[in-house]
Every structure is written in C-alpha cells, then in structure tokens.
Amino acid sequence: MDVLPVPLPSAKMAAVEKRRLPVAQAANFTGSGRPGVSRAAATAESEEDFLRQVGVTEMLRAALLKVLEARPEEPIAFLAHYFENMDLRSPANGGAGEPPGQLLLQQQRLGRALWHLRLAHHSQRTAFNNNVGVAYECLSASGRKKKPGLDGRTYSELLKRICRDGEAPEEVVAPLLRKIQCRDHEAVPLAVFRAGMLTCFVLLEFVARAGALYRLLEDPGLAVADRHVGQAVLDTLEGALQASDDTTPARYLEAGSRLGPDSLALAMDRALVARRPSTPMTREEFLEKAAALFIAKVKPVG
C-alpha cells in the first residue's frame, strides 16, 4: 500500500467547492480551549483574522522560531515531527474521557522532555540551553505534588533514557550516571539539570567517536584490536585530557596538538615496533577505558 502515491487529505479536497465553514465550529478544534474565542471568530471576516482566531498564526510563529533556533538540516522533516509531537500532546489525543494513569503521564512527560532536548545539537549552545530550560519546565510543572520542582528520581530516569537511546553500552555509561545522579527525593535545581544533560550528551558523542576510533584499530578478520596499539591510543588520549585541566585557550591548543596525527601516529608506531604477544583488546574494553578517562573529569553532583 505504501508504495503507491497517496495524496494528503487536502489535495483530495482541492476540487471541492470552497465553502466557508462556520468559523465558530473550526475554532472548537484548535485544542487551545480558550473560552470566548469562538464568539470572536464568528465575527471575523478575513482569512487572516480566521487564522489568528483559531491559533494558526501563533502556532506557525512558534514553529518557525524553533526552526531558526535549531537550524535543522532537513527543516521540512523537522516541522513534520514538531507538529506530530504537538498533536500527540493535545488533549484530543490524550484520551479525553478517562485521565491517563500516573505512570503513563510520567512517560509522556519524559518523552516530551527528550524531544525538546534533542531539537538542537549541544554544540549550538544557546538553542540547547533554551531547550534544556523548556524540558526542565515540562518535567517539573505538572507534578501531582503541591510544590513544583523536579525530583531526583525523574532526573535519573531521564538520564538513563538518554543513555539507552544513545546506544552506548550500559557498563560504559554507568560510572557517569553514578557520578551525576541525584537522590530520588532530592529536588534538582536547573543548573544541576543543565550540567547533567550536557555532560550526558557530550559523553554519548565521545563514546560514539571512540567507537569510530576503535573500528580503525580493529583487525577486520578477528574483530579485536592489538592491546599495545589500543593502549598507546588510550594513553595519548589521557595525556591530552590531562593537559586540558585548565580552561585557558592555550591548553586547548596543547590538547589538540597532542592528539594530532603525528604524535598519535608516533605512539602507535612505538607500540607496533615493541610488539609482544598479548591478549587482544575488545571493543567493550576499549570503550570502557576511553569513557573512564572522560568520566574522571566530570565533577560529581553534591
């Protein structure tokens, strides 16, 4: 079925005579549920007024701002996801009759927060920070308890979800989670939340890059890498990370130069020349050791 071109419903209607629907009727379906809107819309004459009354103008403005903030590679697909997410959130689809269970509600909130967090890559720091703020509000605003705020349990759950979706092996990211998790009953301030999210996303990217590095070292036939070469790469990485203890720009340059092709190649060459028989290094081990170097730099919470 999906291989045949299927037009969108609007195309089907294109030939239908353009009739002006009683505006009040349409206004009931915006999901905004603002009282008084329908009466005002009924008097609206122009299409512009109609769009404003039913909330289209506001919706598109918000969507366009999101596009500009995130600058996605594929803005049209981005918009499709954006509206899909909005549609899922609207009360019409949340099961209007019975209120969803507490657990389901919690899952929905997590899903929404994750969606906001992923809108922009963490290197687009302003956009990312905004989205972290929105995600924080998503999670903390709709709590059942009297005092609003984000508890440690929800925060930990979110961290776990991010790591799981990031496809990093569990044992690799577990040390990080131990370090930046909060206690279940603790209230998590925004600053801690933001630092946690950022660290988590950066680690996932770090692990992904380490994985790519390992693939280069890997013996294609055996699916393992030589221990000495692997260790030499890890040592170089460690040296570079130690150099970047201080945050002055000169330190960044130094770290970069230590990881430059020539010094890395020298280290690998030395390891190859001094080759002794040894047990090979697996992918898991390499990733775990690489991640440990990163995690050692993370300041623990509290």
């Binding site: 030939a15 009931n28 109609f50 289209v56 500009l68 918009l79 499709a80």
Partner: protein, 331 residues
C-alpha cells in the same frame, strides 16, 4: 552531524535556501481551502500530514503547475510521481505520441502547460515531425532535463543563439587571445558549413552561467564531461547528451538508472495484488496490449479531481472500464 555553513547563514537566507516559507505559506493556503478537514482532525494534525507528505513527495499530486515547479524538491517529486504512476507504459513497451504523454502529465497536474511537453518531445525527436511515437524511457529522461532545468535551459538556448550568430556572450570572462580566435571562426566560410557551436567555447559560457545562475543547474563537472567528448555540437545535441547522461540523472536524484526504470518489485507486487482482487480482469491483462490500461489504475484510487479530466481525455473503452472496476474493488 553538523554542516556549519548552514548555521552561519542569516535567517532569511537559511529559510530561502530550504524553501521553508514556500511550504509554510502553502500549508496555510491548503488549510484555508480545507477548513472542514481541520474541524475534523485539528490543526496540528493537519500540519503534520502536510509536512509529512512534503517529505514523502506526495504533496504535488493534482496540484497546480505553479506549485509543482516552485521548488527543486517539488520538481523531483513530480518526476518521481510521473514515473511511478505510468512506468507500466514503459514496461509494456508502448510507444506514445507527444499529445498522449501530455495527457498523462495532465492527469497528475491538470494545468500542465503543453509547451513544456513539446519541448521535451523535441529533445527526443530532434525537431522532427512532432507526431512521432516515443518510448516511455526516452520521453521520461528528456522530460526530466527539460522540466527540472527549465530556466537553465532557457539561458543556454540564448547563449547558443548568440554563439551561432557570432556574438560571444561571454567576452568578459574569456581571455582576449582565445576570444579573438573564436570570434573569427563563424565568419569564415568553413565554420558556417558546420553545424552547431564549438564545444570548448560553449563550455566556458555555460560554466560562467552555472556560477551566477540562481536556479538549479546540472553539476558543472558533468556538463564539462558531456562537452569534452565532442568538437562541435548543436543545441539539441547538447540536450540529448544531458538527458542520456547517467551521472546527471543520479545527481538530480528523482529517477533510478535507466536499467532499473522498470524494476520496482514492491510496486509490482502491489499491482498484482490489486489485480487479483478484480474479477474478470486478470485475463485481459495477461492477454497483452490491453495492459496499457494499467497506469490508469493507479490514479483513480486517489479521488475526485482526477475523474473529470479522465473523461475529457480521448480515452479508449478499456481504461474507462478499469476505472470503475478499481472503484468497485475499493468499496
């Protein structure tokens, strides 16, 4: 993961480059035309469906020509839709005239201009009698070049005319020594006997054109490749070479390679499944040439705007029959 130049553009350039506003504007127009739909599904759902259909390329079906040609993505989607809907014509080896191909195009886009179909046919028929028959793949690839690079080809035609009449439209770019040399050629008796223009000079002009052209152009490296194989060529010779160039087809990305044009197992399966549901039709299809009514079967599934056109067209009895049968199978 990151393409930094995208992040450095000013807002309006970023939006214009990806035609975001074109689609947003169209989404709003569609919404205003279909207020019934939003009263049923809600606005967010409407926009979700709209932008999903843009991603899938089904948004151009039965739309007006001005929209279909509005963006490169719309053009590629239309080419793809045309191929997928009517490729059975090619599969059966049927040859059609320019007018018949035009009717097929109008099934997908009611106000598709005849002029464009004529221009495409001219590439296949090399300006010969325009009522000749053409194979589906010949027409499709010629049509692809003509439709997708429409504005570019218009500029190319102007440059070609200038070169033919001895003017060099590119005098600023071409170094004086070589341009002087070229300018003398057409005036000499020898050159006027030859057909077309010199390929290297033509390429210099086109390279310059690609640099400043705001519409889509074929990749300059591939244009160079096309032109480096020959000494001289005519305008239609150039278009034929473009339309047959494998790499240009790939760069455009709407259609598969010529060899795979008829190969789409998923669609075949779907068609067979549909045919099996229609009692009494299977025989006539396996019988042979009547199978040309197959392409007509795909569009009727999608509804009303198509039907009046279909009847207006000079159609044979079988494809009319198939329309109704398909409708029955759906009920």
């Amino acid at each position: 993961m990151l393409s930094p130049e995208r992040l450095g553009l000013p807002d309006y350039e970023y939006l214009a480059q990806r035609h975001v506003l074109t689609y947003m504007e169209d989404a709003v127009c569609q919404l205003l035309e279909n207020k019934e739909d939003i009263s049923q599904y809600g606005i967010a759902r409407f926009f979700t469906e709209y932008f999903n259909s843009v991603c899938q390329g089904t948004h151009i079906l039965f739309r007006e020509f001005s929209f279909i040609q509005a963006t490169p993505h719309n053009r590629a989607s239309f080419l793809r839709a045309f191929w997928r809907c009517f490729r059975t014509v090619g599969k059966n080896g049927d040859l059609l005239t320019m007018r018949e191909y035009h009717c097929l195009l109008q099934l997908l886009c009611p106000d598709f201009p005849l002029e464009l179909t004529q221009k495409a046919a001219r590439i296949v028929l090399m300006d010969d009698a325009m009522d000749c028959l053409m194979s589906f793949s010949d027409f499709l690839f010629a049509f692809q070049i003509q439709f997708y690079y429409s504005e570019f080809l218009e500029s190319v035609a102007a440059i070609y005319q200038d070169l033919l009449s001895g003017k060099n439209p590119n005098t600023v770019i071409v170094p004086t020594s070589s341009s002087g040399q070229h300018r003398q050629r057409p005036t000499s008796g020898e050159a006027s006997m030859l057909e077309g223009v010199e390929a290297p000079l033509f390429y210099q002009c086109l390279e310059n054109l690609c640099d400043r052209h705001k519409y889509s152009c074929p990749p300059p490296a591939l244009v160079k490749e096309v032109l480096s194989n020959v000494q001289r060529l005519t305008f239609y010779g150039f278009l034929v070479a473009l339309s047959k160039h494998h790499g240009i087809n790939q760069a455009l990305g709407a259609l598969p390679d010529k060899g795979d044009l008829m190969h789409d197992p998923a669609l075949d399966e779907e068609l067979e499944r549909l045919l099996a549901q229609i009692p009494g039709l299977v025989n006539s299809v396996t019988a042979g040439p009547e199978a040309s009514c197959l392409p007509a079967r795909t569009p009727p599934r999608v509804g009303s705007p198509w039907r009046p056109l279909h009847h207006a067209r000079k159609v044979d009895a079988e494809s009319d029959g198939s329309t109704e049968e398909t409708d029955e199978s759906e009920t």
